[in-house]
């Protein structure tokens, strides 16, 4: 089945030489790799801000910086992590690299648009990050209305940067939807698509429907600051809660843009390492789409205490319960996939199991926040901070780590060592729980979020959290070390190291420039391992 011989020497990495060939490439694989390194660089910057926030909160009152600098730290941590890291993290790295190969296509539908979306991302990201050299940003990543309008920081610049980055996401989504529709391999009908493609398809639908609303909301904020249009400014007759509606109409679907691709990766990893087909493929695809549709009707649960009418709170709370059901279906189905399988604990599987653990905690704590009565007490406290870090860092970042360890041999053609990978996974997992579980307790005891100075009773919990955050940092550093080391002189990776049945493993690793020497024909499902020996 595998065709590794033909493309032995020539692959997409050494097809053309020189930095210019990389910067002007339209090969979806090279663009995926460029995104990978750019997004990870911003992940490092966002991570440093996270550590600075945790350092400042090590003790009540002044620890390392004053209140204004602290406000800039958490604003940058939020903005960089949300807009520059976790939204493009999986869709633009593994989406770009793997999606066309999963479909058996030679490239995405519009390769030049793909390169344009990379440069839009870079342009927007550097414009937003350049505000560090000016007056910074101090209204959080949410830019709530009256404060972001009166802020003397360079808010207009970061809003323009985020506006440009939004179009990068839209064009990528547009590209992938057309590719999924029009460039599928022969025999690859809709019910033989790998679930990663279903997850990416749902993510792209959300991206193409929600990101334009964010783009215009940011534009309206800029117009508000520059032209004084008064939609959100109470002194000109507007309503700040209207801004929260516009903002969360994008930002809740955005959290599903972050988590659905991670679910897609887990849908790929667990069957391969359990040697068993995914449990109830149709229900899983339906659950993915269920989440994608419900994503657009629940944004009001961020605003239960914001002066929203009781009618709206009632509606949003009721519909949000559906998300819990759909997520439950997926978690139980993953467990059912492991049932009676033949499980091998390679690094991707360890990260997938860490994902299930952490995402379950994240999902369950969502129940507290979707019920209005308990949410009134818990919203805007560290309980919410812990909840969205469990779902976003626990979900999307852990899903990404499972994905990088799963597709590393295919992308770089080298194998990494399993020992350090297990150590790093344990470090990050324990450090993560040590960082964020104490925050649940601080939150339920009433510690509000975005607090520079807190009451002495919360000191012990914050100190635990700071120690945990440095453990996570060490875990990621260890990961970076052994992955870069493997990139340089790791063992040559075979075409199909994990014995997977999806199309990208039928070609050499790293794949040739045109992905497949002969066009693949799909005859079986994506998780049919009967014909593949490990």
């Amino acid at each position: 089945m595998t065709q590794s011989g033909a493309a032995h020497g020539d692959n997409y990495l050494n097809h053309e030489k020189g930095i210019k060939s990389w910067l002007t490439t339209v090969d979806h694989k090279r663009i995926g790799v460029m995104y990978l390194f750019t997004v990870l660089a911003f992940f490092l910057v966002g991570g440093i801000f996270a550590l600075l926030v945790r350092l400042e909160l090590f003790s009540p009152g002044h620890t390392i910086v004053g209140p204004q600098t602290y406000n800039q730290f958490f604003s940058y941590h939020g903005t960089i992590m949300v807009f520059m890291v976790i939204i493009p993290l999986i869709p633009s790295t593994f989406g770009n690299f793997i999606l066309p190969m999963h479909l058996g296509a030679k490239d995405v539908a519009f390769p030049r648009l793909n390169l344009l979306s990379y440069y839009l991302y870079i342009g927007g990201a550097f414009l937003a990050a350049s505000t560090m050299a000016f007056k910074g940003i101090d209204s959080g990543w949410t830019f709530y209305a009256p404060l972001s309008l009166q802020s003397r920081a360079s808010t207009t610049l970061v809003l323009t940067g985020a506006f440009i980055m939004g179009f990068s996401g839209i064009i990528t989504a547009l590209n992938f939807i057309t590719t999924t529709h029009k460039l599928r391999a022969k025999g690859l009908t809709w019910d033989r698509l790998p679930l990663f493609i279903w997850a990416m398809y749902a993510t792209n639908i959300i991206q193409i429907l929600a990101t334009p609303v964010l783009a215009l909301t940011l534009l309206l904020l800029v117009a508000e600051r520059v032209l004084g249009i008064g939609f959100f400014d109470p002194t000109l007759g507007g309503d700040p809660v209207l801004f929260q509606h516009f903002f969360w109409f994008y930002s809740h679907p955005a959290v599903y843009i972050m988590i659905l691709p991670a679910m897609g990766i887990i849908n790929e990893v667990i069957p391969v390492f359990s040697r068993k087909t995914i449990f109830s493929y149709k229900a899983m695809a339906a659950a993915i789409f269920g989440i994608a549709i419900v994503a657009f009707v629940v944004w009001g649960h961020h605003m239960f205490a914001s002066g929203q009418s009781d009618t709206a709170s009632f509606l949003f709370s009721l519909i949000t319960k559906l998300v819990g059901v759909a997520t439950g279906i997926k978690v139980f189905a993953w467990l059912a996939t492991m049932y009676k399988g033949s499980i091998r604990f390679n690094a991707p599987m360890l990260w997938a199991m860490a994902f299930i653990f952490v995402f379950t905690v994240g999902g369950l704590t969502g129940i507290y926040l979707s019920t209005i009565a308990t949410d009134i007490h818990l919203t805007d406290t560290y309980f919410v901070v812990a909840h969205f870090h469990y779902t976003m860092v626990g979900g999307a970042i852990t899903g990404f780590m499972a994905g990088i360890h799963y597709w590393f041999p295919k992308i770089f053609g080298k194998m990494y060592k399993e020992g350090p990978a297990a150590v790093a996974c344990a470090l990050v997992f324990i450090g993560f729980n040590l960082t964020f579980f104490p925050q649940f307790i601080a939150g339920s005891r009433g510690m509000p979020r975005r607090y520079y100075d807190y009451a002495p009773e919360f000191t012990y919990l914050n100190q635990l959290s700071t120690i945990g955050s440095f453990m996570v940092a060490i875990g990621f550093v260890v990961t970076a070390i052994y992955l870069f080391q493997a990139m340089r002189n790791g063992a040559k990776a075979p075409a199909n190291p994990w014995g997977s049945a999806t199309l990208e493993w039928r070609t050499a690793s790293p794949p040739p420039h045109d992905n497949f020497s002969t066009d693949p024909v799909v005859t079986a499902g994506p998780y049919d391992y009967s014909s593949i020996k490990v």
Binding site: K276, G324, A455
Partner: protein, 318 residues
């Protein structure tokens, strides 16, 4: 102060509603712990029982409709129960009883101001009668704030240009902390307050003016500079102006009185009573060089006697 409830996970319960919310919180926790142990238990047992060495040949299972229906219906049922229970509790929380005593609260960059029906207004201290429903009508003068009283399990945003409301009935007298829960700028974490629950009789006494609302609790004849010190803490001055010479958001109070300061337009002035009074009422008028004009006005909040007390206090800080 009553101790924390539910293994220290929740603040003390100071109202009936708080008990209702905590019961629901405990129920959801029970459900969550159960499902957490179920999912993680199953995952670990499958991982141990079906690892490659022990179970080399995987069995081919595609789906199991009854099981799928089960694990869709049960969560839906449980979430339905939680929703209905939550709605019942919330109905009491949202609608204040008609007989509630109304107090207006105004959030302002970095302090809470409360206005009572008999005309008095206090900063940072909310005086309420025990065992009687109290309705707080919230609004804000500048940006979003949020009145959060953990012990009462109540929280509502103060939105400029709009009124929102919350209500509670405190069980017994005591003091409870007030936080601002909506990020509102530099001193968001310093925007604290206190709910002082009094016996109804004592509250009536206070209400009819016998106790001066702004005097510190230990009565009348407190020296002016001591009152001034208490006022600089209550109005949140010390959150931005240090008293030990270190530069914070604003210039330090230490040695400020009588000092010649250079202003942002490089002109020089001597810090005297008039400059301090003007900087409290119109902070942007004369900003010291090197500082951002961040300070918001205290006009309408600080009385003349308060300014005199603050000036007296500043004179003691050599």
């Amino acid at each position: 102060m009553a101790e924390h409830t539910f293994f220290g996970l929740l603040p003390p319960q100071a109202t009936e509603i708080a008990k209702g919310v905590d019961d629901l919180f405990i129920f959801i926790t029970a459900i969550s712990v159960f499902f957490f142990l179920l999912v993680i238990g199953l995952m670990l047992s499958f991982a141990r029982k079906y690892r490659a060495e022990k179970n080399p040949v995987p069995t081919d299972i595609h789906e199991n409709l009854p099981l799928e229906i089960l694990w869709t219906a049960i969560p839906t049922l449980i979430l339905g129960v939680i929703f209905v229970w939550g709605f019942i509790v919330y109905k009491d929380m949202s609608a204040a009883p008609g007989s509630a005593y109304e107090i207006r609260a105004i959030g302002k960059q970095w302090l809470w101001k409360f206005q009572y029906d008999h005309g008095a207004s206090t900063v940072g201290e909310l005086y309420v009668p025990a065992r009687q429903p109290v309705k707080i009508i919230l609004t804000s003068d500048d940006v979003l704030h949020s009145l959060f009283i953990p012990d009462f399990r109540v929280k509502k945003d103060a939105v400029p240009g709009m009124y929102t409301s919350l209500w509670f009935r405190a069980d017994e007298p005591g003091e409870h902390v007030i936080y601002c829960a909506e990020y509102c700028g530099t001193n968001h974490s310093g925007m604290l307050g206190k709910v002082i629950v009094m016996e109804p009789g004592k509250f009536e006494e206070w209400r009819s003016g016998k106790l001066d609302a702004t005097a510190t609790s230990n009565g009348e004849n407190v020296p002016l500079d001591i009152q001034g010190k208490a006022l600089t803490e209550k109005f949140g001055c010390v959150a931005c102006h240090s008293t030990n010479g270190s530069v914070m958001v604003g210039p330090s109070f230490k040695g400020l009185y009588g000092k010649t300061e250079t202003l942002s337009d490089n002109s020089k002035i001597v810090v005297d009573d008039a400059y301090i009074r003007e900087s409290i009422i119109e902070p942007q008028a004369k900003v010291v060089l090197g500082f951002d004009p961040v300070m918001a006005t205290y006009k309408g909040l600080v009385k003349e006697e308060d300014i005199n007390a603050i000036i007296a206090y500043l004179q003691t800080l050599k």
